[in-house]
């Protein structure tokens, strides 16, 4: 763990050293962040606050950038795992292109991550795999709350249930989905449990009382 942090720490000052005001600001940030966590007092230097991903240099990454231009905003690799960040309008086109032209014919998973403080609140993550290349690739898309991303069902049938689960847990509605209903929770349930503002003990009390005949599910 310590080994992992050191290269990141020594790399970071390099590019920052060029512009003078940045390092103190970063140090101040680190100092600010330190007090709430008592363990940080004797911890090694704070690890970088963002993912220490490095650019992903490959034929496929170049091809995607050529084909989609601004549609692909980042192509990186972290811990040996490649991912591209796509503009939300381009996401399905990128996935379709990867399926038809680059053999990424297996959609492993679709999921989301909630970052409530960000303007684009959700990250949609598509995990792809190619049997022919034996390679994995993640396609990430940032979307604001209320945005209706295009469905991937037209490209991969498996997206059907996976998108239903994302809708169920995060309230992201997929445009053009053939059957967008809750899948794990009851259809009348209020709220989206995997959002960060949904408490761990929170429940739809009204649903519980009406349907289970008990005061509380806790």
């Amino acid at each position: 763990m310590a080994d992992e942090q050191k290269p990141g720490g020594s790399e970071a000052p390099g590019p920052q050293g060029a512009s003078a005001p940045k390092p103190p600001a970063a140090a101040a940030d680190a100092a600010k962040a330190a007090p709430p966590k008592p363990a940080a007092a004797h911890a090694p230097p704070k690890p970088p606050a963002t993912m220490a991903a490095v650019p992903w240099d490959s034929d496929l990454a170049r091809e995607l950038k050529d084909r989609f231009g601004g549609g692909i905003t980042e192509a990186s690799t972290y811990l040996g795992q490649n991912f591209v960040v796509a503009k939300r309008e381009a996401a399905i086109a990128v996935i379709e292109h990867l399926k038809l032209e680059a053999d990424f014919d297996y959609l492993v998973d679709i999921t989301a991550v909630d970052w409530p403080k960000r303007a684009d609140r959700f990250d949609l993550v598509y995990i792809l795999y190619s049997f022919a290349r034996n390679e994995r690739l993640r396609v990430k898309v940032s979307i604001p709350e209320g945005y209706r991303p295009e469905t991937a069902v037209g490209v991969h049938l498996t997206a059907n249930w996976l998108e239903r689960e994302v809708f169920d847990m995060f309230g992201i509605e997929f445009d053009g989905h053939p059957d967008l209903r809750r899948i794990l929770l009851p259809e009348e349930w209020q709220g989206y449990p995997l959002r960060k503002d949904y408490g761990i003990l929170q429940q739809d009390q009204r649903w519980v009382q009406e349907n289970l005949g008990i005061e509380s599910g806790q």
Partner: protein, 370 residues
């Protein structure tokens, strides 16, 4: 949900489950029938939803480890392995060789235990009463080894992030080898009962066919994919825990029907024995824990790690914000994804075959619903 056509006089809507023995748990299937013929299905799931992914965000990395055992509760060891590998990837550490060998042994033993439960209950669904007694008898021996190793039979929590929870006990190698020697002839015994049995063949051949293309479209993995002729197994394609060191085959078939899936799983049990025998013969000496601090605090980042669980590709997508608790843990459950193909497999078939197809998908509802 039923649409207007359900009211057509020739169509019948039949509710199966959630309390139905052949749904292997709390799965509810709404069947649209025309006489004996299945016109369509709608799966209602979520009865066992416990919000495992939400719980993960409110526990430390180590605290969440036992929770994953409760997803695929007949293959808890595999669940634990996948989770530990994912967090180890984030930490950029690897379990030491000794831990890896023991992990492989226990995981393969768990594969056998899981396949045995599948075989017994599947045969029971088809109407063969005897195999389930034999299967549970042998599964008991496997569970005893788990119990001796970690004190638990099902929810084992056998692995720790960075290595193993416990050192092996005295006689571990001997007991595993004894199990292997005992087990191989027993697989022949099951096959004697079933493989050429006319009723068994008649009920399974040509039922619930899922082609290789359909498998890929639906993201179906594991024995179902291999029965359709795709020679793909994560233990070979992207080896983890030292699987590249062991010599074993990936059994495949061609047509992708229910019978082929039976054949593939039977062969997989034999291959699992092969792997265990090789691993037990060469458990390296050394520590059982890698360099992981008391407080597990991966740097900011994300990783997706998947393993070949008995049911298919089991993946963990873990996002770290640099704190002691995971920011997000996504479980990619093979049962959930495979179950989606049920509709395609039973449509146009007979209602009695629905039972056979649910059995052959080998779903565990704890994992479907999480």
């Amino acid at each position: 949900m039923p649409d207007a056509t359900f009211l057509d006089s020739t169509e019948l809507v039949l509710n199966m489950g959630p309390q139905h023995p052949s749904t292997h748990g709390v799965l509810r299937v709404i069947l649209k029938l025309d006489g004996e013929k299945v016109l369509g299905t709608d799966c209602v799931i979520g009865y066992l939803h416990r919000g495992v992914e939400k719980i993960a965000e409110n526990r430390t990395y180590a605290q969440f480890n036992p929770y994953v055992d409760r997803m695929d509760y007949v293959a808890a060891v595999s669940n634990g392995l996948g989770y530990c590998l994912a967090v180890e990837k984030l930490l950029n550490v690897e379990a030491p060789p000794r831990a890896q060998a023991v992990r492989v042994i226990l995981t393969e033993l768990n594969r056998i235990a899981s396949h045995l439960l599948w075989l017994g209950t599947h045969a029971l669904d088809i109407g063969a009463i005897t195999p389930v007694f034999y299967c549970l008898r042998e599964r008991e021996e496997a569970l005893k080894i788990f119990e001796n190793y970690c004190g638990a039979r099902l929810t084992t929590h056998a692995f720790r992030i960075g290595g193993l929870q416990y050192e092996t006990y005295d006689g571990f190698e001997r007991e595993v080898l004894a199990f292997c020697d005992m087990f191989l002839p027993r697989v022949d015994e099951y096959e004697e009962l079933l493989t050429n049995n006319r009723i068994w063949v008649g009920r399974l051949k040509g039922v619930g066919v899922l082609s290789a293309e359909e498998c890929k479209e639906f993201g179906v993995t594991g024995p179902v994919l291999r029965a359709a002729g795709v020679k793909w197994d994560l233990r070979k394609a992207q080896p983890y825990s030292g699987y590249e060191k062991y010599d074993f085959e990936i059994p495949t078939c061609e047509t992708g029907d229910t019978y082929d899936r039976y054949v593939v799983r039977m062969q997989e049990m034999r291959q699992a024995v092969r792997i265990m025998q090789q691993a037990v013969a060469a458990i390296p000496e050394g520590p059982i824990m890698g360099k992981v601090g008391k407080v597990i605090k991966p740097p900011v980042g994300e990783a997706y790690v998947s393993i070949e669980a008995p049911k298919g590709e089991l993946g963990y997508y873990v996002v770290s914000d640099g704190s002691t608790q995971p920011y997000r843990v996504r479980v990619r459950p093979p049962s959930f994804v495979n179950l989606q193909a049920l509709d395609r497999m039973v449509r146009g078939g007979l209602v009695a075959d629905v039972v056979a197809v649910i059995g052959t998908l080998d779903i565990v509802l704890g994992e479907v619903d999480r």
